[in-house]
Amino acid sequence: MTLYLVLLLPFVGALGAGLLRATARNVEAWLAGAVAISCAAILATYYPDMLAGRVVQVAVDWLPQYGLTFGLRLDGYAWMFAMLVTVIGALVVVYARYYMSPADPVPRFFSFLLAFMGSMLGVVLSGNLIQLVMFWELTSFTSFVLIAYWYHRTDARAGARMALTVTAAGGMCLLAGVLMMGHIAGSYDLDRVLAAADTIRAHSLYPWLLTMVLLGAFTKSAQFPFHFWLPRAMAAPTPVSSYLHSATMVKAGVFLLARLWPVLSGTDLWFAIVCSAGLASLLVGAYAATFQRDMKGVLAYSTISHLGLITLLLGMNSTLALVAAVFHMLNHATFKASLFMAAGIVDHETGTRDLKRLGGLYHAMPITATLAMVAAAAMAGVPLLNGFLSKEMFFAETMFAGEALWLRILLPATAILAGMFSVAYSARLIRQVFLGTAPGELPRTPHEPTRWMLLPSATLVLLCLLVGVLPGRTIGPVLDLATRAILSDGRMPVYSLKVWHGLNMPLLMSAAAFIGGLAIHAWMTHLGHPEGVLKPLFRRFDGKRAFSVLQVRLIRGATRLVNGISSTRLQTQLALIVVAVITAAAVATLGRLNLDLTTDLAQIDPAFALLWVVGGACAIGAALQAKFHRLAALIMVGCAGLVTSLTFAWFSAPDLALTQVSVEVVTTVLLLLGLRWMPKRLAMDLKNRDTARARARRVRDATLAIVAGVGMAVLAYVVLTQPAGPGIRDFIVKNALPGGGGHNIVNVILVDFRGFDTFGEITVVGIVALTIYKLLRRFRPAPEVMASSGQKRDPGRELPDPRDAVPKGVMLVPAIIGRLLLPMAGVVSVFFLLRGHNAPGGGFVGGLVMATGFIAQYLVNGTLWVESRLRIHPQYWIGGGLLCAAGAGCLAWFASLPYMSAIVWEPKLPLLGKLHLSSVLVFDLGVYLLVVGTTTLMLIALAHQSLRSHRRVAEAEELTSVRMVR
């Protein structure tokens, strides 16, 4: 279980570091360092297990249904990599403590660094491939925030984003590949996948999954053609570069290739893809590194090149090459991290990393220079340093990689060429920075940094030396256990780690590379370090540029696409909805319905036909007039509503007719109240009416309308001429009186069988009324409408004084009669409310009648007059109605019945006889109250706008003038 600590500590540390104060630089560093060293120490305790070839595994179920466990799996290879991550991590922490400026917010830095360390350890130690992918993506995110640490810099932001985009995309591909692999293997468990290697290679999807996995690995390891993000990531603080972009994160790709080597390698496809990518990266990286001006640029490209070398080795399908690859992973980590640290020191001390501005630093900082020289030598492959050993193994492998002749020539030749460039850029780096003299003033006067800053670099250089001189004693066992862990038993190759193998072909190749490299360097010095001659060619295939162009195009294209496939027009949206509905209905019914029109014609009642001549004419008239003659259209819609309610009455639905009529009246008033605020529209402004587009749109809409109408008519007719099935109506009809206690079945349904619908329906009405009120409170009428209020139309007319008992003149008689109507409406409304259960009526109609009574008062008396004499608090009516209805439902609880069960109470009173009280009546009362409240609220709040305009005429005129000025 202690193994979990290795993973847990960095994340806990990250959290702790994040919470510390911004000035706590030392505490932060101590914390981070302690975490790294503790992890390394814990790992070290497993060394005996590793030597014995044991695999330490811990796992808990996470999403067992989908084969996801959270587990750690420590074998030799993972151990080696984890040690690399933690040890270099510790060194980087020490280095960073002195590198970071006091102005930098260090908590963020160390927090992210530790989180990255944890993620990287997660990748390395995952025993489940899905879990591995999770940590893989986490390294992308943590590296993203680390690169963008100085986010105020444009290059940092852009570099971070590019890195994230490329590596996260790779991660997606990796996920896809891993999923396929897991599906074939039947598990995502690494051991099971390794065991199913043959099945996977034989599966028809192998090319696909291989491609996906390789995309993941290549993007992470910055392999050609995805290498471009790495140089841009150099905008990160140097400790980050030295840790992530040389030693650890970029290694994740090659780590994975080696990890899955037994599963995926061994095929021609593997050889072709991996070797080409490796070879291309090797050459491109080495060549580009030679012509960089930035120190970190040189290192970045050289990293690409060295990772290419590792990839190439992994692609060779040979176990010996695998050993060389693993060996070079370690070697590259040590010398490259050390070189980055040196670059950081130079930058830190001089204020620049530009090779053209630097020079002669050996005098100012001899220790730094020495360390850098040794590390660079290791990078160039100078004997007695670790780089030499692995490179020699590489040269040896190139000769036996392929059977084909061209391969046996091409590979060694390219290896030598790459080796030459490698020597050249190493030499150039040292020479340009530390030797000679500086061409001009440096931003800062350089001197040796503190010992603590040199210590990490020195440690790494020491390691280079030790390994280079005594490979068998130092790195030998580790390399052995790591490779053994990768390969299954019995495939372990025979190799020897010695400095001197005798005068053989690899040594000659090394020598050739060395001499060639120095020659290139000399030639370049002679030319004054030109830009790469191949640079124009490169620009063509420049991934970096392609990336940014792609990104811009992507956004632009997306915007264009979204605008193209969506619309801001309501009409388009509604037309699409209509089309969708028509299509849905047509798909189901076309050719499957039988229409029989003949039987019906005989029984047509001429009066009904005439009624619908009226209805149809009014509807069509409304459709044609709604634009220019709104009032006429409104009247016609009112007629259509009347015809509808007569139709309901005709076909045995008195309740519907009643409701429709009362709603119709209120709706007419409502729409009229709104009409006042609409702009005047004259038939003359026809400017766009007859353009071709407008005509086409009208044709389209007319077609849609006709198709929809015909469709609906057909559906209605087919249903009408089919006999009704039994359904639930029998039960309802039979139980309405005995069970529901009412003669009016519709009302029994409304308040009892389906009372919950009514309950919801009144809530809707209440909500809408409150919404209308909300909206009207903030109403802003258009200025010109304000100006054209009724008062303006009738100059000289004074508004009636609210204190007058009766209005003068014309409105006298309407007022007198109208006022009498209110108590009458009250009585009629109670009548409807109380009888609803047994005859047409009910709370809704009753409420509407009462509300219409109120509205009639406003109509004949004016707002001010009514409100000076009567306070209606509609929200109390609404609230009361809702509570009443809800409470009626709750009454059933006291009788231990479900909500909304009807409860009847029949007390006997003297004189009056038996009273019939029922929770249903209370419910209907709630409906009544609510309808009164909502209807008055809607209409009166709307009517109040005239009051507002009346009050604010002056304000509006001012506003108009302001608008005109603008």
């Binding site: 997306a558 496939i565 639930i728 909500i767 609880w893 909500y899």
Partner: protein, 542 residues
């Protein structure tokens, strides 16, 4: 207490109604009292939903016969009356609703509840509508609850009305009114053919329906499906969605994150009940699948094109709807549980994202344009009880403690939401996406279904595109130079933290969560138990 327990299923509907109605009696000036009542109601809903969910995690045999609890409203058994049905899916949706309602509610207490009147009532009514839509077992009653939640959403959308909100609101209302009419036509046609409205009974009737009536029924179901799809935001019926969500005030938009999922829920429920072997469910079909994949892509492309964080999140809501529907439409049974996980991961993420967007908007220098400025409210003293003036969108009162690490918190929250929305590791969004793809791979590889491959590719691409879009937007919000240090109140930060913690919890407890979802999915694909529980008196065809 035992009485209340027996009536538990109806409480998520009645409770918010009663509290919302009670609030109408309290003057707007009693801010504290009003907020307390509303908050109590929301908390109670959380408790009820949690209890209902808890009961179904491991149902005791006595209490819930088949893991389905039926509440017979008014004592009229189905199919004659309306019943509420608590099964694993509806309990899950209830809990999800409560889980986002609480943080949204708390968030709005900081400022937004005073931007217009009747905010708390509206929110309670919205919750009532949502809860009802998830609970009801009756098709027409579903319509009614849709109307409740829609009308409450109109009110909330127009909360603190200004030109932008009114303009967007007009389209939103128009589209939804059309949608409601379509819903009605569909329900009517279904009733006209089947003679019943209970959803379980419809399943029974559909299974036994005479062939000559099938086409009409299918037409009804198809029309109904369009209504659901409009709500779910399927392309090309969703052009209203981005502008609506962008215009709404942040807590309202946050609440809207679940509204599209109501449409998805309805489709899932109806699809489950109407899926019989004799005839293919009318909801399924290749056109639906391609439409939903198009929706996914529309959402993705929209995310890339969006210039505003809220708009981007709105498109991500579309993408998530598309994802859900696409997986459902593909009809891979084993993917149902994962897609439910995706649902419960994406909704809190969307909610949190809208809340964060509300806070990051403040990072930018406040620019009040004519469009976004609200006119001065009037009071109707003569006719309404007196109400105080509302505060504007941008009038933050400076009372309250600004937390120091505001930017860091917002950044972390943003990253978490990005991970959740895009399905990147390590949060539950990834687990959902991974398990969906894992299930789809089965279909893709074993049945060599091209559609499944298409969906897998779309899912991966969606995550990636979302990442690109969100990184761009996040960098602009957090790493731009022209921003002010935000004032962030604890009461605003807490809800976001709660939502993210919820997702983290789900991530850690993915196994148990998936167990629950697995059983929910199993019940969904085996609707006979549901039908048996709802219709004790009816014979169910085997």
């Amino acid at each position: 207490m035992s009485t209340l327990l027996r009536h538990l299923p109806v409480l998520p509907i009645v409770l918010p109604l009663i509290s919302g109605a009670l609030l109408l009696f309290l003057p707007q000036q009693r801010t504290v009292l009003r907020s307390s009542i509303a908050l109590l109601s929301t908390l109670a809903q959380v408790a009820i939903a949690a209890y209902l969910l808890h009961r179904l995690i491991d149902p005791q045999p006595g209490l819930l016969e088949h893991g389905v609890e039926v509440y017979v409203l008014g004592g009229w058994v189905a199919p004659y009356g309306i019943v509420l049905v608590v099964d694993r899916l509806s309990a899950l949706m209830l809990a999800l609703n409560a889980a986002i309602a609480l943080p949204v509610h708390v968030y709005s207490l900081a400022h937004w509840d005073r931007v217009g009147v009747h905010y708390h009532s509206m929110l309670q009514f919205l919750l009532m509508g949502l809860n009802g839509a998830f609970l009801t077992g009756d098709l027409f009653n579903l319509f009614v609850f849709f109307e409740i939640l829609l009308s409450a959403s109109y009110g909330l959308l127009l909360h603190g009305s200004n030109a932008v909100r009114v303009k967007a609101g007009l389209h939103y209302v128009a589209v939804n009114l059309a949608g409601s009419l379509i819903f009605l036509i569909g329900v009517a046609l279904i009733y006209g053919v089947a003679g019943t409205l209970n959803m379980a009974d419809l399943g029974v009737q559909w299974a036994a329906m005479a062939p000559e009536r099938r086409s009409l029924f299918e037409a009804g179901v198809g029309i109904l499906g369009i209504a659901f799809l409009i709500k779910a935001g399927i392309w090309p019926l969703n052009f209203w969605l981005p502008k609506t969500y962008t215009a709404a005030s942040p807590p309202v938009a946050a609440m809207f994150a679940i509204m599209t999922k109501v449409g998805v829920y309805a489709l899932l429920r109806m699809g489950s009940l109407l899926a019989i072997p004799e005839a293919p469910a009318p909801f399924a079909g290749p056109w639906l699948f391609y439409g939903t994949v198009a929706t996914m892509w529309f959402g993705i492309v929209g995310m890339l094109a969006a210039r505003q964080l809220t708009r981007l999140v709105a498109f991500s809501v579309i993408a998530s709807s598309g994802t859900l529907l696409a997986v459902i439409a593909l009809g891979v049974t084993s993917a149902t549980a994962p897609v439910l996980l995706y649902l419960i991961a994406s909704v809190p993420a969307g909610t949190a994202f809208f809340l964060i967007a509300g806070m990051t908007e403040r990072l930018r220098v406040n620019s009040v344009t004519e469009e976004t400025r609200a006119p001065q409210p009037t009071t109707y003293t003569a006719f309404m009880a007196g109400e105080p003036h509302e505060v504007g969108d941008n009038e933050l009162d400076e009372v309250g403690v600004a937390i120091p690490a505001a930017l860091a918190f917002l950044g972390m929250a943003f990253v978490s939401c990005t991970l959740l929305t895009t399905g990147m590791p390590p949060l539950v969004g990834f687990m959902a996406k991974f398990s969906i793809i894992s299930a789809l791979l089965g279909a893709a590889m074993d049945q060599s279904s091209l559609d499944a491959w298409l969906l897998i590719v779309s899912l991966l691409a969606a995550g990636f595109a979302g990442l690109i879009a969100l990184t761009k937007r996040g960098m602009r919000s957090f790493w731009s130079t022209g921003r002010t240090t935000p004032r962030l109140r604890f009461i605003e930060a807490m809800p976001v933290a709660f939502l993210i913690l919820l997702c983290v919890t789900m991530t850690i407890a993915a196994g148990p969560v998936m167990n629950y979802l697995d059983s929910a999915a199993e019940w969904l694909h085996e609707p006979n138990a549901y039908i048996h529980a709802v219709l004790p008196t009816r014979e169910v065809s085997p």
